[in-house]
């Protein structure tokens, strides 16, 4: 069965790009959330295998969303997405259970590599 992924990013452009990369690679993108509230709602509704989570979101910071996600969907693996400059938050995110992080702008190769190894469960503190 295809692994199921939820994308959380407030930029429509970024979501589209990630979705295309992941879908082309055979993953099933089960939802696209544009803010923290949507992310939690969709995570509950779709029980994804993996969530890509943007660090900066309009309603919550990605970090708060991460903490809530860990509570409601402990089995879901979380990969943080961020442009450079937010390393402090990313470090904190890894401490709070995020498996890896992808630095924007990302290459297709790196995204698939990180998502792939996160899903295999052997990824830790990876960066692109």
């Amino acid at each position: 069965m295809n692994k199921r992924i939820l994308i959380v990013d407030d930029s429509f452009y970024m979501r589209t790009m990630l979705k295309n990369m992941l879908t082309d690679a055979g993953y099933e993108v089960v939802g696209e959330a544009a803010n923290g509230a949507q992310a939690l709602e969709m995570a509950t509704a779709t029980s994804p295998d993996l969530i890509t989570l943007d660090v900066i979101l309009p309603d919550n910071t990605g970090l708060d969303v991460l903490k809530s996600l860990r509570q409601i969907q402990p089995s879901a693996k979380v990969v943080m997405c961020s442009a450079v400059g937010q390393e402090v938050i990313v470090t904190e995110a890894i401490e709070n259970g995020a498996l890896a992080y992808i630095v924007k702008p990302f290459s297709e190769e790196k995204v698939l590599e990180i998502v792939g190894s996160a899903l295999q469960g052997d990824a830790s503190e990876q960066s692109a």
């Binding site: 407030d10 930029s11 429509f12 452009y13 970024m14 589209t16 790009m17 295309n20 696209e32 900066i56 979101l57 309009p58 442009a83 450079v84 400059g85 937010q86 924007k104 702008p105 990302f106």
Partner: protein, 546 residues
């Protein structure tokens, strides 16, 4: 077919412009209140997104400026810098530069140089004073005694423009009155002054109308997102193309049709376009095409929503209309397809088999129709089964001043908005026949029923109109052919007066319940002239036809 790169580019542009608009808004909030937390957070987030998106697109300079501004807003948010002094000026320059860069990307031009700006942003981040451009600084110092620096742009509330336009409307009416008086008095000096007044108030009117115009793009550019969301919810592949974003239209008109257009677009994706399986089965390309375009036609603006989907099933609509009791089965069988399609705009009429999340929440195309009627616009539909459907919104460019044709009945003038008029005909008795008690003429290979406007306006009661006979026709008939909802109707009038721009004033209570009249206007002679409401006249005729 559109490549993915093109799609990304369009998405990037639409989102970047949206971000830029929000930035400007939050900056002005910050200017009023330098500690506005929510605005600072938003500016930080918008910069962050713009940076990431710009870098992904390879617009590195744009990304770099956004990155520096993001860092700076982070510092302001954490209260390590304050939004004051030279910092404010550099930030504004920075956001302006972002705007210019985004526009350059949109116009496929090289991005403007930002070295000096980046240097200043660097200094601010490091806590140093920015170096304001030597020339600019010198100039502003030199001129500081003479003038303040103000932007060339003024933001103005639409309400104020509305007020201005209303006043211009009043002025135009008085101008016409003075012009007529001057001609009557035949005083050369007065006449010359009146003519001058005529010209400048004309200029004034167009200047005010011009100030209210915006590009249709501000609305169209919001649709890539809508289409993508609806398409992905419906599991369909849709390629959206936009054109005519530069076509200018009154801002309030655009506002009024926003929901209507949203409805048409959602409808096109949900119901117009087929599922992937259906398209494959029909031998069509998997990706459905949707085109949103704006164009100018005479004085009107046309906005079209065109899909290459399944088209309207005319027979299904015909059956549904009979089921709903909108028309008798016998009459329905005689209607041509355009007349059948008109049922789609009846209140509550929906062809949807199931109510989906996205569209069809029991809301039909009648909503679209109502919005257009309120503007005096028109909705046209073209469709071919299996090939696609096109909805066309015909809109006036401006709200207040409308082109109208003045006609006379029983020595009273009436104004008919040009948007609803197709043509004027002068018919000899030989060109008119009688079919089922109704006068009919043939125009452009279509039979057009004729009715004396006098009968519609003067005959009392709800009873049907009298049977027409050949004896009613004596001499040539002046006919104004109006068009509403794809139905043509010929109004027989006593004479045509002239074509004129009119300012329509709504009827006030208790007269506003008379729906045959869309309002009233004053003619130059001071005479009150009623403005006919073509949709209401058409409905009245259909109800009363013998």
């Amino acid at each position: 077919m559109k490549t993915r790169d093109q799609e990304y580019r369009e998405l990037f542009m639409a989102e970047a412009l949206e971000y830029y608009d929000s930035m400007s808004r939050h900056l002005s909030e910050l200017e009023r209140n330098p500690n506005a937390g929510p605005s600072l957070n938003e500016l930080f987030r918008l910069m962050h997104n713009l940076k990431a998106n710009a870098r992904a697109m390879g617009f590195n300079d744009l990304g770099e400026v956004a990155h520096h501004l993001e860092t700076l807003f982070g510092l302001i948010r954490d209260q390590e810098r304050t939004f004051s002094g030279p910092l404010t000026r550099v930030v504004f320059t920075g956001v302006d530069a972002l705007g210019n860069m985004i526009r350059a990307v949109g116009a496929n031009q090289p991005l403007p140089d930002a070295t000096a700006l980046l240097d200043n942003l660097d200094r601010l981040v490091r806590g140093e004073e920015p170096i304001l451009d030597a020339e600019e600084a010198a100039e502003s110092e030199e001129e500081s005694n003479k003038k303040m620096e103000l932007s060339d742009l003024v933001y103005i509330q639409v309400k104020k423009l509305d007020n201005l336009l209303n006043l211009v409307g009043e002025l135009v009416i008085d101008r016409d009155r003075i012009m007529t008086l001057a001609q009557e008095l035949d005083n050369p000096a007065l006449l010359a002054t009146a003519q001058h007044l005529f010209r400048i108030s004309d200029d004034l009117q167009y200047s005010v109308m011009d100030a209210r115009l915006v590009g249709v793009g501000v609305l169209l550019n919001k649709f890539p997102r809508v289409v993508r969301d609806v398409a992905s919810a419906e599991g369909k592949e849709v390629e959206l193309t936009l054109s005519g974003q530069d076509v200018q239209i009154d801002r309030n008109i655009l506002q009024i049709i926003t929901d209507a257009l949203l409805h048409l677009v959602r409808n096109a994706v949900s119901h117009g376009l087929e599922t992937t399986e259906q398209r494959l089965a029909a031998g069509k390309p998997v990706v459905g095409k949707l085109n949103l375009s704006a164009l100018t036609e005479r004085d009107d603006v046309l906005i079209q929503v065109r899909d290459d989907g399944r088209g309207i099933n005319t027979e299904a609509v015909r059956r549904k209309a009979v089921e709903r009791g909108l028309v008798s089965a016998n009459t329905a069988a005689t209607l041509d397809e355009k007349a059948v399609w008109a049922f789609l705009f009846e209140p509550g009429f929906s062809m949807a088999q199931k109510v989906t999340d996205i569209s069809g929440r029991g809301v039909g195309l009648d909503v679209v129709k109502l919005a257009l009627d309120s503007l005096g616009g028109q909705l046209r539909v073209e469709s071919e089964l299996g090939v696609g459907t096109t909805f066309t919104l015909v809109l006036p460019t401006s709200i207040a001043v409308k082109g109208a044709l003045l006609v006379e009945v029983e020595e009273r003038p009436y104004a008919v908005p040009l948007l609803h008029t197709d043509t004027v005909l002068s018919l000899h008795p030989g060109q008119i026949s009688v079919v089922g008690g109704v006068l009919v003429t043939y125009f452009q290979e279509q039979s057009v029923p004729l009715v004396p406007l006098r009968q519609l306006l003067y005959d009392e009661g709800d009873g049907p109109l009298p049977f027409a006979t050949r004896d009613d026709i004596t001499g040539p008939q002046q006919v104004l052919v109006v068009n509403y909802n794809n139905r043509r109707l010929g109004l027989v009038v006593d004479r045509f007066i002239r074509q004129q721009n009119i300012v329509i004033k709504p009827l006030s209570k208790p007269l506003d319940t008379i729906d045959l009249f869309g309002g009233v206007t004053l003619l130059g002679s001071g005479q009150v002239c009623l403005v006919l409401d073509v949709p209401a006249l058409t409905r009245l005729f259909l109800n009363k036809r013998p």
